[in-house]
Symmetry: C2
Subunit: 419 residues, 2 copies
């Protein structure tokens, strides 16, 4: 066995060991540790910002896309928000040991369902350094140990955050939080073979990362995949509300997965709504790529025709594809074909249209009259998120404490045997 | 593309199509279909038994192990029980559309969690033909379409059951239930690449089947893996109850995954309990493989020494490994090392020992004073089971209607946007 593989296995074994300890740890002890981690981040803010500045310089020198640099950048406010998330996680209830239901089976045995930690979680992610602290905190509170594999572009930031959190965890076993910094895809593939030590892999990143992980993993994977999010503006709706929701969904933070990528507009209001929203979008620097009907209404030579690829695109940028549709059925058909089952919203005043949209759209988060930007652990009251699942197995949408648990059946008998 | 692959993709597409129909189907329509399926099984009992007799003849001629033949065999009683399971599933509540919780987020949006079907389920299984009808019924009720891949040893039985059920499903789309009969592992590998059409794979079978599926699947997998189940007889317990539970767990149906494979006995009662249980086991034809202390106490030349491999073994036969342990900690350490996280039981009168066992044993089903044989969808009040998950992701233990659903968040706003 190569020495690199031996080293990976050593880390995995320590993580498994630590997970057994954590599974039985008191809530109070975990919360104290979390509060210590939050304080440590604030105390070491300059150290973390220095490391982040180094990553930012390297990223600019390497010519990384602006969306990626935006996700990479830290400042005092963002670090405070990381610390706040940890404190919020400390304040949330401990899911471990919670008994979800108890019922009597026909044989008379009592069957309970108790939440338990999953064990060892591997998170593979790109860019955003706050993922390091969010994942560490969520895993600790939910009784799991974590192996973190951040992107090379955030190596200095992630290492600084990791060291800061780790130093606050005296009294806990070594393997509770682990950061794998050695470069190369080979390292990831070695990790993905450790099904004896790792229980779950969560890849967060681009298409090639996700497909690589899915292909090589022997461990269950929950994908945090792309968000091709839609807003459908129905014919009977409050147009001012529609404009507010669309602008927020597109421009408030375009580089993230819950930002809107495609706007669908009912044909009966397109004549009024499109010129109105186009003006706002333009003044916010958003490029529109429109269907034929959109371009006819807007009569603006700047509006490029949307090609087939545009409907599938996750721009993560100030670009929006726009389509005029005949009605709800056409909107649903479009979202079903081109969407990524992440977050989609309808703006409508029509109750039956709202319910139909909710029922038919098979996405992790389906909205009526709100911005898709709310798909987020913090906004959902979960403190933070370890990822936003675009899979349908185990968990969907923002994943946090509860989603990081499994359960076991606990059964009480009085000597019952099966007949 | 090879014509076989084209054919597989055609089936997968039909299954996906059907799953969209099923996701929106009325409960009443699904229940009527189920009742029709149950009636059809009873009506066609001779046709199914003829097919099964053919499989049984082939199995005997091929010299298959007796445990496998036991699992393969059908009779009128077993077919009635298949039909009963379907009727019971019809009577159970429809999980689809159920709203699990509703809460207000800080921004004022209302967030609900609604159960939805997973989509298309692939079940790969061996031997037992009742799996064909159980899976078809559970998937239909939970709004999923199913692709069934049974073992070649049960080909005739599975085909007869499939045709019987299918004929009862007039008015439903073609792709609702599918049986893949073409032989060869290549077919399975082709199926495992269809991540665009299939949402979940459940392999039920031996080690090589499971590891093959895990290795080649691009689709999420939930394993129905082996059951190395333990019973620990504590020092303070009702010995007659312990005997009853152990005998049931070992001999009532030894060829199944929830049968006991290893008996652990507290050293302080081993002198009394072991001779007592050994006598019963012997008269039921059970071979004992004992640790040194067991052999010393039983002083029986027939008792072979248990080797290291025995502690890992899922015999699925009238064989039992027996170990005398120093106490609860040693029992927990043994189960943690050698167990398969399926089902484990403690027989004790000591409350604190019971609670410690429940907390520390990380298995899908942890029992106090009951037989491990209860790990079963029907016994758990779920009507039947599509498998018993030995994974920790998505579901653990017996999986049925609820475990065949995912959820989506439904969010109601009044124009909220993110700040």
């Amino acid at each position: 066995m190569a020495s690199v593989e031996r080293q990976i296995i050593r880390i995995c074994k320590a993580a498994r060991e630590a997970s057994r300890y954590l599974a039985l740890a008191d809530t109070e002890k975990k919360n104290d540790a979390l509060e210590g981690m939050a304080r440590a981040l604030i105390k070491r803010v300059d150290y973390i910002l220095d490391a982040n500045a180094k990553d930012a310089r390297n990223a600019r020198a390497a010519g990384l896309p602006s969306a990626m640099i935006d996700r990479l950048l830290l400042n005092v406010k963002r670090i405070r928000s990381m610390a706040d998330s940890i404190s919020e996680i400390a304040r949330l209830g401990d899911p471990v040991g919670e008994v979800l239901e108890f019922k009597k089976a026909p044989s008379g045995i009592l069957i309970g369902k108790m939440r338990v930690p999953i064990g060892v979680i591997l998170v593979i992610y790109e860019s955003r350094p706050n993922v390091t602290s969010d994942c560490a905190a969520l895993c600790l509170k939910s009784g799991n140990s974590v192996i973190l594999r951040g992107g090379s572009e955030a190596l200095n930031s992630n290492t600084a955050i990791y060291k800061t959190l780790k130093a606050a965890l005296r009294g806990f076993p070594e393997g509770i939080i682990n950061l794998i910094t050695r470069p190369g895809r080979g390292i990831v593939r070695t990790l993905l073979r450790q099904s004896g030590y790792i229980d779950l892999v969560m890849p967060r990143g681009g298409e090639s990362l996700i497909s690589d992980v899915t292909r090589f993993s022997r461990i269950p994977v929950i994908k945090h995949y792309k968000g091709v999010c839609h807003t459908y503006v129905d014919k009977s709706c409050d147009l001012a509300m529609a404009r507010r929701i669309c602008m927020n969904a597109k421009v408030q933070r375009p580089a993230v997965c819950n930002a809107m990528e495609t706007l669908l507009v009912h044909k009966d209001i397109a004549d009024i709504f499109l010129p109105m929203i186009a003006k706002n979008l333009k003044s916010s620097g958003v490029e529109i790529r429109g269907c034929d009907r959109t371009r006819k209404i807007l009569r603006d030579e700047d509006i490029r025709p949307a090609k087939e690829d545009d409907w599938y695109a996750e721009y993560l940028d100030l670009i929006l594809s726009v389509k005029v549709v005949d009605g709800l059925d056409a909107a649903i058909a479009h979202i079903t074909k081109y969407g990524s089952s992440h977050s989609d919203s309808i703006v409508t005043d029509d109750h039956s249209q709202a319910l139909k949209f909710l029922k038919r759209i098979d996405s992790a988060c389906v909205y009526v009259n709100a911005s898709t930007r709310f798909t987020d652990g913090k906004e959902f009251g979960k403190g933070a998120e370890i990822g936003i699942s675009t899979d349908k197995i185990h968990a969907r949408g923002p994943m946090a404490l509860e989603e990081l648990t499994s359960y076991k059946y606990i059964i009480f008998g009085k000597g019952q045997i099966r007949g």
